[in-house]
């Protein structure tokens, strides 16, 4: 096939099959979808970060410190993994979405990741500072049964650990605020022993 024939054959095919360029709006929409998804995931990531901050500040670290013998077990038991995993997931999805916008490929991976982290951090701080993170967390506990179940499971585990700790160390006093745990909503029988007071 000569050069001339190939191009002409393609043109003939275009005409015979009545092929037309796809409309511009379709391409614009695709680009916008990635931007909108990127924005949504970064907001979700920021909310996750805000809630992580809220839960970390609300955690009774003194109590955790007493219950955990090593730093590793302290970290393992006290961190809000659900939100941290969601934050990591949203960072990856945002990265993917921005990368797939029209000019997203031009951004350096390190720059893009740093940008996402900085935006999430600032927005997360705003959500945390404004009390939105706390509000969302409470709303989720009230209106999302699976989340409440997850939270209760964590609290039950914590309660068991406290009970075990007290059995093993009857002479050791747990730090104040422990009684706050009694306010939690358990769907099991309350402990038979009288609540501790400090």
């Amino acid at each position: 096939m000569t050069d001339k024939n190939l191009s002409q054959d393609v043109l003939k095919k275009i005409k015979s099959k009545n092929l037309k360029p796809k409309p511009k709006w379709g391409f614009l929409l695709k680009n916008w979808v990635f931007w909108v998804l990127g924005t949504l995931t970064i907001i979700l990531g920021a909310i996750s970060l805000g809630i992580t901050m809220f839960l970390l500040t609300a955690t009774n670290w003194t109590l955790h410190n007493e219950l955990n013998s090593s730093f590793f077990s302290l970290i393992l038991n006290a961190l809000p993994y659900f939100w941290m995993i969601l934050l990591a997931l949203m960072t990856v999805v945002t990265h993917y979405n921005v990368r797939h916008t029209r000019k997203g490929y031009k951004l350096k991976t390190s720059h893009l990741t740093t940008g996402i982290i900085i935006i999430s951090l600032i927005s997360g701080l705003i959500f945390f500072g404004a009390g939105t993170a706390k509000e969302i967390e409470e709303q989720m506990q009230n209106h999302m049964p699976p989340y409440k179940q997850l939270h209760n499971m964590k609290m039950k585990r914590m309660q068991k650990r406290i009970e075990k700790f007290q059995e093993l160390h009857p002479d050791r006093k747990l730090p104040p605020k422990f009684n706050e745990l009694n306010k939690l909503d358990f769907d099991r029988k309350p402990p038979t022993r009288p609540p501790l007071t400090y």
């Binding site: 096939m1 050069d3 001339k4 190939l6 191009s7 002409q8 054959d9 393609v10 043109l11 095919k13 275009i14 005409k15 092929l19 037309k20 360029p21 796809k22 409309p23 511009k24 379709g26 391409f27 029209r102 000019k103 490929y105 031009k106 951004l107 350096k108 991976t109």
Partner: protein, 193 residues
């Protein structure tokens, strides 16, 4: 539009005219046909008929997606990107052997690469075109592609970035690694003559 008139027009203007009338797309195809056919051959060792089929599909795809062309890019980068992606898909489907460069291409490739790399002199003298082509085949596909784009297609970093849809920094790293791998292969295999 007459052929003489079309030659004076930029690719971007031809894109605009092709959107108005498909006949004008012929000038764009004719402008890129030889280059893209050669590029397909350089990327995969497809028989001529297959390469022409790939190119036909590339042109149709390009025509259908003309409205997606971003005028801030060079048209050549865009059509090379479509060709590259389509050819690689074809390669994955049919697993052709890596391409073999012709004698002239190997020579041009090596001369361009040598100007940009510190390859020991004793290796330069012992290499012939066939050997260069064989050694190039030993490279990983991603290194092979980036070397072809840089030293045979003569694309700059920004164009390679647009064709491969990778950040410029990644292109620079890929190219450095590709050169370094090729140099290693040259040193370990190049002395056999």
């Amino acid at each position: 539009m007459k052929n003489t008139n079309s030659k004076a027009l930029k690719d971007e203007e031809l894109v605009r005219l092709s959107l108005e009338n498909s006949d004008n797309f012929l000038h764009l195809m004719q402008r890129y046909e030889t280059r893209l056919l050669a590029y397909i051959h350089r990327l995969i060792n497809a028989p001529t008929e297959d390469a022409e089929d790939i190119l036909q599909e590339v042109f149709i795809k390009t025509y259908e997606n003309l409205n997606d062309f971003d005028t801030s890019l060079r048209f050549s980068s865009w059509i090379y990107r479509i060709t590259h992606n389509h050819t690689i898909s074809f390669y994955r489907k049919f697993k052709n052997q890596p391409s073999t460069l012709s004698t002239g291409e190997s020579q041009t490739f090596f001369e361009n690469l040598r100007d940009d790399t510190d390859i020991p002199n004793q290796i330069n003298q012992k290499l012939n075109s066939k050997k260069i082509a064989t050694l190039l085949q030993k490279l990983d596909k991603k290194y092979h592609t980036v070397l072809i784009l840089r030293y045979l297609e003569g694309k700059d970093y920004s164009e390679i970035s647009d064709i491969l849809k990778k950040p410029m920094g990644t292109v620079a790293t890929l190219l450095n690694r590709a050169k370094s791998h090729f140099k290693k292969i040259l040193i370990t295999n190049g002395h056999d003559g």
